[in-house]
Symmetry: C2
Amino acid sequence: MISKNKARFIISLQKKKFREEEGLFVIEGDKLVREFLAAKVSIRTLIAKREFISSLPPFMKECIDETEDATYEELKQISTLKTPHNALALVPVPERKMIPEELLDNICVALDFVQDPGNLGTIIRAAAWFGIRNIVCSPDCVDVYNPKVVQATMGAILHVNVYYSDLKKFMVIAIGKNIPVFGTVLDGESIYLQKLGNKGIILLGNESRGISDELLPFITDKIMIPGARRAMPGIESLNVSMAASVIFSEFLRQTDSLSD
Amino acid sequence: MISKNKARFIISLQKKKFREEEGLFVIEGDKLVREFLAAKVSIRTLIAKREFISSLPPFMKECIDETEDATYEELKQISTLKTPHNALALVPVPERKMIPEELLDNICVALDFVQDPGNLGTIIRAAAWFGIRNIVCSPDCVDVYNPKVVQATMGAILHVNVYYSDLKKFMVIAIGKNIPVFGTVLDGESIYLQKLGNKGIILLGNESRGISDELLPFITDKIMIPGARRAMPGIESLNVSMAASVIFSEFLRQTDSLSD
């Protein structure tokens, strides 16, 4: 039985302001909750059907501070989904200190004003698939703990670190260390022909405006995804998450031993 | 001023049954309507703000059978979107006869039970970008004229032919002509290493179940998208539209002159 106050508290976490105040975010779904527990992430509160709770192995239960059983109707009330799952959990926002120099030892992604939750979620999922562990978002990107982002990552949020930081400052550090900044622009070199390496920033821009003017000068390697653009003049662009998938894939293909 | 009957008629086209009965589907948005008109697609009814209608050049107006001006409130009433655009149009469903032999002269895509409108729309968009002109859907796929699919294609629906047909029969024809069928399966060969050509069917499966058992035997070339799967065991898969983008890109990369 969930109290009205508790229900209100959980619903309030749909808003960034309250997530930040409380340091908590919400995950939904049997599978997602199990994945978090399997990864030994500590969960503040688990709200779930009784059957779900009793099905958890002891090592998972140990990761949970507080458990409340709930009915379908109660879960529906606090869910962001039309059809609620059997479980929902409140998870402490992990504290992560971004160390730019460490990120720059590998391929990382910088997102400039990506606003759509589905796009951010999909980009995180693609990054995890292709082995990219760090994403730096400009402060005006959608919040990674937005429920729609969390759901769209399908658990990949567990494997990718997402930071919010001033991209200009980050680029300055990269340039100072001679790390390439790859940016997709219309007059870029085909990603199939461009030499891609094991280090660098893949800079992706806003859904409709692309990369912002103040960041364009930091691009050291202009890239583009070849398409049938000339053959089909109506085709405008790939969306940013599709472009991300293709670019990440091409990086993986070109960089040696991972590609088998 | 839109009559109540007209409004009801337009709203009814959100359902497949009525689209099929009437042979009409709905497009929304200033940009999309303009793209259809620029491509000289004939439009049965244009419902739009007066300013939008008067802004159309004469050659576009010639493609429209019937025009009605509407207020924001009226557009809102018939729109599937939270925030309606300035224009909405009813477009006759094009009659397309599928000639399997013609499709098999190029790369084409076969979709097995793809249910999510966003996924189908995104796959159409990716196909258009990478120059793939034909998609064959199993009859249980989501309808291409579903408003969410149409919107997700961002106009690419103008450039890609989408057919609904028995995939088994289509595969039999392909095999008879020695055309390869590429299917993504877990034990497939890396797409980076697999030799991809100018002809073939790219078979993509359902969002959660993958390619159905009855189609698996037709796959001549098992492929997979390499990922960091082993490093991050929690990562389940790319979704079908991301996978499609990556595979289409790799086909384009490998097949000669297009890749510059």
